[in-house]
């Protein structure tokens, strides 16, 4: 994309790329996503100055764009459609951050797993894989999905988000809550 194109020309070019992407053209879609990422980042920065959050919200926006790409009308400007998605995800992230800060303390190691099973002391009460499966089935669906993707299938947060449809932040929150719930269930089983 020429750096000296006007905003109108740029919007028209993106609109054409998006139309091609709706038809399934992968090269056009990848080019579009790379070109719009700086714009998404600038929109997100208006709502957040936390560097860690910014990139996460950018990724969340790209995932949302992917999910709702069928709602874009190629006869309308692309910019407002994209900006609305980026703003919405930024506001949602801000609200989540406020809510989490109010009610929960994030545990940084919550979604890490130690390779040595003996280090996972909470797992001592589980004697069989059937028991593990039964405990997992007692979790709410989204928490179970997050835990399975991140722990059992060893997916990265980005891969798990693309696979499950949950945002990166939602995955972290649900995995954290799933581990808390599992610890509570394990405690019930201890004599």
């Amino acid at each position: 994309m020429a750096t000296d194109s006007t905003p109108a020309e740029r919007d028209l070019a993106w609109s054409r790329l998006m139309r091609a992407a709706q038809a399934g053209e992968r090269a056009a879609y990848e080019r579009l996503l790379r070109e719009v990422t700086p714009l998404i980042r600038s929109v997100v920065r208006r709502h957040s100055n936390n560097r860690a959050d910014i990139e996460e919200i950018v990724q969340d926006t790209l995932l949302t764009l992917h999910r709702v790409r069928h709602t874009y009308d190629p006869d309308r400007p692309f910019g407002p459609w994209l900006a609305a998605i980026a703003s919405r995800r930024s506001i949602d992230a801000l609200r989540r951050r406020i809510r989490l800060a109010k009610f929960e303390a994030p545990e940084q190691g919550a979604y890490e797993t130690f390779a040595d099973a003996a280090a996972n002391t909470d797992m001592e009460a589980v004697r069989s894989s059937e028991e593990e499966g039964e405990l997992l089935r007692r979790l709410p669906p989204k928490q179970r999905e997050a835990l399975e993707a991140l722990k059992l299938k060893q997916m990265s947060l980005v891969e798990a988000s693309a696979s499950s449809g949950q945002s990166v932040t939602a995955l972290k929150v649900n995995a954290h809550r799933a581990l808390k719930a599992l610890r509570a269930l394990f405690q019930e089983r201890r004599p």
Partner: protein
């Protein structure tokens, strides 16, 4: 390569073609056509049309019906419009004039008819049951259509969608409401509309498959 680069590659590699969503106005007309056909069948089968025609000869009653009908149409349109990212929020004002017309015409009727002796007999409560009950199948159909958009801001979509559905139910009620409106009737109508809107707003995320 950053995580964002990885994500872009992954999204592009897994891209599949999609069928673009039809324009909000067209989707509104489709929903209205289906609901109108169903309403017509119910009216022809169960309503006493001669009584209804007699009632709407009173200008206030005609305005009340017009107000609720236009509220339904405009609110449903706003729901479809707002389900798409980037659409103007100014559309939220569209249902306001017919809503005010509906409330004003109903209010004038209440001034004329007072509390209403039927309140003692509990008939006014039937209005609540009718509006709330009729809103269920209408909402199911509407939310099924709205879900396809995976609205990124589901709350206004749910509020206007359920307002439209409740207003449509209230319009249909006019064909089965052989007596003039009283204060308690209006109270039950408003309570039913409020209840439906509240329920839709509370259940917006699972019902709308919000993105």
């Amino acid at each position: 390569m950053t995580h964002t680069d990885d994500l872009i590659e992954s999204l592009a590699a897994n891209l599949s073609p999609v069928r673009p969503l039809r324009a909000p106005l067209l989707r509104t007309l489709m929903w209205l056509a289906i609901v109108s056909a169903g309403a017509l069948l119910i009216i022809l089968r169960f309503a006493n049309l001669s009584v209804f025609m007699g009632r709407v000869e009173v200008p206030r009653v005609a305005l009340e019906c017009l107000g609720s009908l236009l509220t339904a149409i405009t609110a449903i349109f706003v729901a479809f419009e707002l389900s798409v990212p980037g659409r103007s929020m100014r559309w939220v004002w569209l249902p306001l004039p017919p809503l005010l017309l509906w409330l004003a015409a109903s209010g004038v009727g209440c001034l004329a008819n007072g509390l209403g002796i039927r309140a003692v007999q509990g008939e006014s409560a039937h209005c609540f049951i009718f509006i709330a009950g009729m809103s269920i199948p209408l909402s199911i159909g509407l939310f099924w259509m709205l879900r396809r958009a995976h609205p990124i801001a589901p709350l206004p979509v749910a509020i206007f969608g359920t307002l439209g559905v409740a207003a449509a139910s209230a319009t249909l009620l006019q064909f089965f409401h052989p007596f003039d409106i009283t204060v308690l009737d209006l109270g039950f109508h408003l309570a039913a509309v409020g209840f439906v809107v509240f329920l839709g707003a509370a259940l917006r995320r699972p019902l709308l498959s919000a993105a």
